[in-house]
Point group: C2
Chain length 231, copies 2
Amino acid sequence: MIPKLDVDTLTFEQLAKTIDHSLLRPELTDDDVVAGCELARRYDVASVTVKPCHVALAARLTADSDVKVGTVVGFPHGSHTTATKVFEAKDALANGAQELDMVINIGALRSGQDDMVHDDIRAVVEAAGDKAIVKVILENHYLTDEEKVRACHLAEEAGAHYVKTSTGYAPTGATIEDLKLMRASVGPDVGVKAAGGVRSLDAALEVIAVGATRFGATRTEGILEEFKTRL
Amino acid sequence: MIPKLDVDTLTFEQLAKTIDHSLLRPELTDDDVVAGCELARRYDVASVTVKPCHVALAARLTADSDVKVGTVVGFPHGSHTTATKVFEAKDALANGAQELDMVINIGALRSGQDDMVHDDIRAVVEAAGDKAIVKVILENHYLTDEEKVRACHLAEEAGAHYVKTSTGYAPTGATIEDLKLMRASVGPDVGVKAAGGVRSLDAALEVIAVGATRFGATRTEGILEEFKTRL
């Protein structure tokens, strides 16, 4: 069961451990990843989420820390075949990934192919085994509310650890309404992660207040420094 | 050697055979792909470019036609490991793909890791063998002119058949300046493909005039019907 965070009594450490520091932009260089991992260690956040090609580097840079290494699978369109997603997941685990954020097959969900969506997620969950948790990105921008709820159910049935709102690369990202809908659509053992648009402390506190226990951020330093100032 | 097209004497058939009809949007359903392949056959375009998960479907739908089936590798961020790109390429070939549009490792190019960029492309070219042509997407939006030229040289050295401006998913797409620069940066055996922003007949004729012999389009029907009207 995922413990709910209380915004009124939230500590610095708790807030830091809700952050997946995102280093996914396609143009990021190795130097950017080195700096990002250093920042993640300094603030002791939950994880760095790096591009697949940077997993081995990030694993070395965070080896003696409590910061986990996360990466993405089938990102950001989710349109890869299941076979490719499974290969990519195993490749990431071999390189040291401990968290996998995978994108569902959006077109299959919208085509009503629920079995395919489920099996695609399930295959990645099985590849992850007990080596990594799996967060399932719905990419809400393209979905109706009915489709979001259906995707939540399919992700939970397939054994996902989290459902996640967005990749950050669609025209829109996390909304409070979507987070409430997703929190209500999965059981207590499944977490909800916000991504795309959490750019300030207030935005972070808002997503936590409606039940998100992780969020993706690029402005990690600004959010955490602002929290220190307010304390 | 790629024959240059003459805009003044261009025939309907020649124009149609410069078009890769794009069906890559993450939210596209199976029905959208069926309709798109039907359109591609009706106009006898060069190819349909479908999401990896739709290659087998598109191969069935275009089997008895001159429309080739293309798909994408490492799309749209190019941040996958080389191992995953190679797996994805082989998977696509097994499903019936005849053209592969791969994205370079943008961050590696910007980090000055030219060997890695070359080897990443080369591995996909080798996986394609004589079964598919490989178009190498630079994603110019993130690159300086010097980086675009360097990427063209690396793609040609690695055996690519085309260099391509963009994925269509970065903030900007093909520009005339970039097409001229790319055409000047590769030899006569390497084609140049425009993608992202070719939305009218005039735009199509402009990219052809500066040496593009393929372009990606979603407004294929509008462009070709307008050409018929002008004839």
